[in-house]
Every structure is written in C-alpha cells, then in structure tokens.
C-alpha cells in the first residue's frame, strides 16, 4: 500500500524562500536548499517549490536554486510558478526537478499539458488548480486566484487528466489560510472522477485536520506551508499521529 505523502510547500522569490523565519539557529534560513534538506531530514515525503518571482528576467536567476536543491536532497521535488512553455518546463526538469506544476498556463493553453506529458511522461506533469466555491459550484480561478475563469473545477480536472496530467494539486481558496481544515467536500468530488494522485492543499491548521482528511477521503498527498514553516506542526508528530490512526505513512528509522 502506498504511503500518504506529507508535502511542505515553499514559496521562492528571487531565489530565496519567503515567509521562512521558522528555523531559528540556521545561518541562512532563506536558502531553499537548506530548508529543503531540513524538511527532507524531518521526514517530508516530497517538496513543492513555487517560484513567485514577478519578472520574467529575474526568473532565470531565481531558478538556479533548483540545481542546488537537486544536489542536496534525496526525495522527489516539484517546481511550479510561472511555467508557460515547453521550454520553461524543460529548463526546470533539466535543472533536476522531478516534477513540474502548471496552473494558469494550462488554462490559457490546455495543449501545454498534452505536449509536456507526451515529452516527459505524465508522472512529472502536475496540474495545479485554485478552486473557489460559489453557489454550490466549484469554480477555477487563475493568476494566483485573481481571475475567475468560469470553468467548473470537476470538468477542468477531468479534461486535464485526459490531456495527460499525472497528478493534481487542488487548492481550496475558501479554506486557504483559514486553518479550519481541508475542503473535504471538494477533494472527495475530485477524487471520485479522476484516476491520478490527488494532493490536497489549503486549510491545514492542526494535526486533526490531516487525520480527518485521511479518514474521509483517499487523497494521496497533503500539502501545507505555514503550519510547517512556523512549526505549529512538526512533520514527525504529524506522521506518528497519522500512523496511530492506521493511515499508511512513511516513518524513517
């Protein structure tokens, strides 16, 4: 049985991790490779880095961290943020990322999913979506949640998987930052219609939220940022609690 994956998510801007003041005592807390290695040693199963560098020119410099992370850590990691073309995807994979995550660019150009999947294999193409519930419907937003695409989330993930996405990251905008638990209704609906791994994102605030998610859905991965960054939850304690609740989880000995 596959272990459920615990996935810390790090935002990187201009090659530095932002909102990462949690690891006191480290010389360079904002270095993606130091934080990445730290999480990997603490038991993270995978890492996601979102490059939020605003300008296209700065992005190439920013992405140098990918090579350094690839050298330092020995767990899989995904890189996303601003990837628009097959060339952008090739660049990140060549630097050593195991997966890439595409969001807005896939909405603007669904064929990008198909082309990338055919070239690199579905296993490394992750479709990430931002979802907001409006009048009992789940709607896809793009550009960091700023633009309403009027796409139905359930239809969009089905299409994304048909085009070749090998994994989905589902971020609930209603739950994100609220720390009141994951959006179980949304995640359940999505899990039921696709046959690729689903990663839950948005809403983690306590260990019990992860247990609830594990008990109520068969979602494959649990992604969170601030609860790990600010040490509100340690990966170790989270994993031990999940294991006690009979959730399959990897604990390194």
């Amino acid at each position: 049985m596959l272990a459920r994956r615990i996935i810390p998510c790090l935002d990187v801007k201009d090659g530095r991790v932002v909102k990462g003041s949690q690891f006191e005592g480290l010389k360079d807390v904002n270095d993606p490779k130091i934080l990445g290695k730290r999480y990997s040693l603490e038991g993270a199963d995978e890492l996601v880095f979102y490059d939020i560098t605003a300008s296209h020119e700065k992005r190439e410099i920013s992405l140098q961290f990918v090579e350094e992370v690839a050298k330092e850590i020995n767990i899989p990691f995904c890189v996303g943020g601003g990837l628009k073309t097959l060339g952008d995807i090739a660049n990140v994979l060549n630097k050593g990322a195991d997966k890439v995550s595409i969001n807005s660019a896939a909405i603007d150009n669904p064929n990008l999913i198909k082309a990338a999947s055919q070239k690199y294999g579905a296993q490394c193409i992750v479709l990430s979506i931002d979802v907001k519930q409006e009048d009992n419907e789940f709607i896809v937003y793009k550009n960091g949640g700023r633009i309403n695409t009027h796409l139905n989330a359930i239809e969009w993930v089905k299409q994304g998987v048909r085009l070749g996405a090998g994994e989905l990251v589902i971020n609930s905008m209603n739950h994100d930052g609220m720390k009141q638990g994951f959006d179980i209704a949304l995640l359940k609906q999505i899990s039921e219609v696709v046959n690729v791994p689903v990663i839950a994102s948005g809403g983690a605030g306590a260990i019990s939220h992860f247990v609830d998610l594990a008990k109520q859905t068969d979602v494959d991965g649990y992604l969170a940022a601030s609860v790990f960054h600010y040490k509100e939850i340690t990966i170790n304690e989270l994993k031990e609690t999940l294991q006690q609740a009979n959730v399959p989880i990897r604990i390194e000995r």
Binding site: M1, S40, D45, A70, N74, I75, Y120, N195
Partner: protein, 200 residues
C-alpha cells in the same frame, strides 16, 4: 571508473547526484573506451521500454555491456534500466530486452492508480548483502507502470501494490532496482552505501 551509461534517457543527472551522495564516483558517458574500462556500469532509464532499447542499440554499446557482464563486473539497472535487463516487454508491442535475467516485463493491470507512484514498503525475499543497512518494511520511492513478472530466483526484495512487484533483483554481478534509490531518502542512501561496499 564507474560509468552511468548515457543513451539519451532522462534522470541521469539525478542518479549521478545520488551515487555521489553515497560516496560513489561515477561519470556519465557513451564513449566505448569508457564502457570497456568501466569498473561498474549503471544502466539508468525512464520512459518506454521499446524506445529505451532502441536508443541503447543505437549507441552500439550493447556488445560491450555483454562483455562487461562476462568479465564478472557489476552491472546495475535502475527503474526502466532494471526492466531492460530482462528478456522482453509487452509495452507497446513485444520488445526484446538484454536478456541477462529470466522474466518478462508486463503492464500493471490492477484496479489501483497506475503509474505506481509514491513511497511503498520493501519486503525481503532472501538474504543479500545489499540489504545489510536497511530493514524489512522500510519505504522506497517508486514511479513505474510496468513491472517484472516472475523474476524467479533472482528476487531479493519486493513490494505490494495490487500485485507483488519485484523491487530488487540480483543474479551474481547483475543487480536491478525498480524504485529510485537516489530519491528514496535515507533508505535509498543506505542501499547505495551497500552498493558502494560491493564496488569496494
């Protein structure tokens, strides 16, 4: 020198970095002289079996790999590189493999999600020095849609995912790992450290 065979398949840099972390020096090459002089050959691989076999044939290195094995030197296949050590695959039609090991590569025809992607437990089929630093039920990282059906007495360790999936196989100087040791955290590192000791 240890050589990772370069035949245009992905993940080569990743394997090199993983070997380096375990203290194993390795160069990436498709130069026949490097292959002939290699102490250990690593055969990487991602993607489709047929494409990989074709690309490997195109390098002209297969006779040199066979000679390497005849000379009793270590050959280590990782992921698809393990699969092509076997006789054949049914991936997109029948393709012959290198045939060093007896067994066939077939699709994971199961009700679970395919590819088999993520962390899964190792169970031991027999004693082997490769396992000296790890324990049964340790997790390693898999990404694959095909698996080796009945590797017979070469099976060292396996995992369960709808079916029993061979994870480590070995026949004397030929070793295969279906998962990615270079991406399998501390357990993967320990396995590669055991490989390092085999190399001496």
């Amino acid at each position: 020198m240890n050589v990772i065979i370069d035949y245009k398949v992905g993940n080569i840099g990743s394997i090199k970095r993983g070997l380096n972390r375990a203290g194993i020096d390795a160069m990436i090459s498709n130069d026949p002289d490097d292959i002939i002089n290699a102490n250990v050959l690593f055969l990487p691989g991602v993607g489709a079996f047929g494409d990989a076999m074709k690309d490997l044939k195109d390098t002209g290195l297969i006779p040199l790999i066979r000679q390497h094995v005849k000379n009793n030197k270590l050959l280590i296949g990782i992921c698809l590189g393990m699969q092509i050590l076997f006789e054949s695959s049914s991936e997109f039609g029948y393709t012959k493999g290198l045939g060093f090991l007896k067994g066939e590569v077939v699709y994971l025809d199961i009700t679970k999600k395919v590819p088999h992607m993520g962390w899964n437990k190792l169970f031991f089929a027999k004693e082997d020095t490769l396992l000296k630093y790890i324990q049964e039920e340790d997790y390693v990282y898999f990404v694959h849609s095909y698996y080796v059906d009945h590797p017979q007495d070469t099976l060292v360790a396996y995992t369960n995912y709808g079916v029993e999936i061979p994870a480590i196989v070995r026949q004397e100087n030929i070793i295969g790992m279906q998962f990615h040791p270079e991406k399998s955290g501390q357990v993967g590192l320990k396995l590669l450290q055991a490989v390092k000791e085999l190399i001496g």
